[in-house]
Amino acid sequence: MYLYQIRDVDHFYGDKQVLSIEDLAIPSASITGLIGPNGSGKSTLLKLLGFLEEPTYGSILFQGRKAAPFSKVVRSRVTLLIQEPYLMRRSVFDNVAYGLKIRGDNREIRSRVSKVLEQVGLEPENFARRKWTALSGGEAQRVALAARLILKPNVLLLDEPTASVDAHSARLIRKASLKAREEWGTTLVVATHDWQWLYETCDSILHLLQGRLFKRGLGCAVYGPWRIGQNGLLQKELEDGQVLIAPKPEEGKLMAVLDPSRVDITLPGMGLQQGNCKTLNGFVTRLFLERNSATVQTAIKVAELVITIRMARNKVEALRLCPGKEVSVSYDPQEMEWF
C-alpha cells in the first residue's frame, strides 16, 4: 500500500504556480530522493507532504485518507527537517524533548533524550544542558534531527539536511536517518544535492524542474531568447556559439526541456547523424555509479547547459568516459518538450 498518493496537485503562491504534480505515489518504508535546481519546487513538495500547507488544488492522501494541516492523523506521524534548522530559545534537552512534552509523553524522558542525542553523534553529558546559541551549524542540525527522531515518526522529510553542515555532521545525519528506517520502518523523503546519498541509499529518485516531476531523469531546462530558424523551428544560440533547435511551442509555454533519456552520447567525430538528429559538443563533468545497478550518472556540460544522463556502465567503459573528456550529444529537436 502506498503511504502517500498525490493526484492532480497544483500549488500557487499568489498568482505564481510553484508546483504541478499529476500523479505520484510513495510507498511505506521507502527512501525517496528529490533532486532539482533551486526554485524547482522541492521544498514546496516537502511542505505539502508534511501537511504544513494545503495544496491550492488537488488532494494528498495519507494512508489512503485525505489529510490536512493540523489533522490528528498526520500531526504525530509526519515531521520535516528544514535546511536551516530553527532551535527554540532553550537548552538542547528542552529542544529535543519538546515534541514529547506537547504530547504529554513524559515517560523516561531523560533517557530517551540521551539515547537520541547519542544516535546523532552528540554526547548527552556535553550537549543536553547547552544553550541553543552554543552549537555549531552541524550540531544544531543534528539537535534538530534528534528532536524529530525522538518522535519515532512514520515519515521523516528532510530538506537538504546536509547542505550547510560539515562532512562529519553530514555522515552522522545520513546514518541516523537511515537507522530510523531500519528500526521503525520510517519512510524517508530527502531533497538533497548530495549525489552519494541519493544514488547509494534512495529506492527511487524524483527529478523536479519548474515544479514538475520528471520521473525518467533530470530534464535540462533551456530558456529563451529563441529566434525562428529554418522550417519554422526555433533556435537558441548557446554561450559558446552552438545552436540548439526546438519545435515551435504551444502558446503560453516558455521553457524547453531536453529529455536526457532521449539523447545519445558519442565521441566527437564518431557519431553518425541519424534522421533529424542534431549534435552538440560538450565535456563530461561528473560520473557517478548508481547503487546496486550497472548504470552510471553522467553529467555533460554543453556551454551553459548541464545534461545529466543515465548510461549503461559498459557504454561508459567503451567510450572511456572520464571527467574532462569531450563528447558529442545527439538529440532529436522534435523530442524537445515545452512547459
Binding site: K47, G50, L80, E84, P85, Y86, R148
Partner: protein, 229 residues
C-alpha cells in the same frame, strides 16, 4: 539651582523617614500602574499575537490605528474616562470616578496600544521557520501560539518596560480621573504637579527622584528576567 540639591536631600529624607504622604503616593502609583499593566498585558499580548501572526483583510489599516493610538494624549484619555465614569456618565453607577481602579482603567487604555503594537512587531519579526518547526514537531494551534510568545519573550518584555514607563510617569489620567485626593488617589506625578504649582520645587524634585527610583527598581527586575531568559 539650590532647589535641585535640596530636592536630592529631601528625597532621601522622605524615604528614610518613611514620610506618610510620600508613601501613600508611592502606594497609589504602584497600585494603579500595577493594575493597569496586568490588564494591558493580559489583553494586549494575545491581541498583539493575533495582529502579528495572522494575515487578514484590513490588517494594515488596523495596524495603522494601533500605531496612531500610541500617540494618545493622556489628558484626552483622562477626559474621556472622566466623562464615562463621572456620576452622570454611562458608567457612573460603578463608583469608579476618583478611585485607583478608575485611574487604572485610563492607564490600561494608555498602555494597551503599546503592548499590542510591540508584541505584534516582535511576533512579525520572529523567524519564519519557527512556525514550520513547531508544526513539524506536532504542535496544535494553541501550542504554536504559546511557544511563539515564549520565543519572542524579550520583545514582550520590551513592550512591558516601555508601557510601564509610560504608565508610571503619566499625569493627565491620574489628575483627571483620580482627582489628586490626598491619602486616596494622589499619585507621585500628581503630587509633583501640585508641589510645583505651590512653588515647592524641592519637594517636586524629591518626588520626581522617588519616581525615578521606582522606575529603576522595576527595570532592574525586568533586566534580571531578561538575563535569565
Amino acid at each position: 539651582m539650590d532647589f535641585i540639591q535640596e530636592g536630592f536631600t529631601q528625597a532621601v529624607t522622605l524615604l528614610i523617614n518613611r514620610d506618610p504622604a510620600t508613601y501613600s503616593a508611592i502606594n497609589a502609583t504602584l497600585r494603579a500602574s500595577g493594575m493597569a499593566m496586568a490588564a494591558s498585558l493580559v489583553l494586549g499580548v494575545p491581541l498583539g499575537y493575533l495582529l502579528g501572526y495572522f494575515d487578514f483583510r484590513l490588517k494594515k489599516q488596523l495596524r495603522i490605528i494601533v500605531d496612531t493610538l500610541l500617540s494618545l494624549p493622556t489628558v484626552f484619555i483622562g477626559l474621556v474616562i472622566y466623562a464615562l465614569l463621572t456620576r452622570n456618565g454611562p458608567f457612573g453607577d460603578m463608583g469608579l470616578i476618583f478611585s485607583i481602579p478608575g485611574i487604572a482603567i485610563g492607564q490600561t487604555i494608555l498602555a494597551l496600544p503599546i503592548v499590542i503594537a510591540l508584541t505584534a512587531t516582535a511576533v512579525e519579526a520572529a523567524d519564519s521557520n519557527l512556525r514550520i518547526t513547531l508544526m513539524s514537531l506536532g504542535s496544535n494551534r494553541r501550542q504554536i501560539a504559546a511557544c511563539t510568545l515564549w520565543e519572542v519573550r524579550l520583545g514582550i518584555l520590551a513592550a512591558a518596560v516601555t508601557a510601564t514607563g509610560r504608565v508610571l510617569t503619566e499625569v493627565g489620567i491620574s489628575l483627571m480621573v483620580g482627582g489628586n485626593i490626598k491619602w486616596h488617589t494622589r499619585t507621585i506625578t500628581t503630587a509633583i504637579a501640585l508641589e510645583t504649582s505651590k512653588g515647592e520645587f524641592g519637594m517636586g524634585i524629591a518626588l520626581g527622584l522617588v519616581l525615578l527610583l521606582i522606575a529603576l527598581t522595576v527595570n532592574i527586575s525586568l533586566a534580571g528576567l531578561r538575563r535569565r531568559s
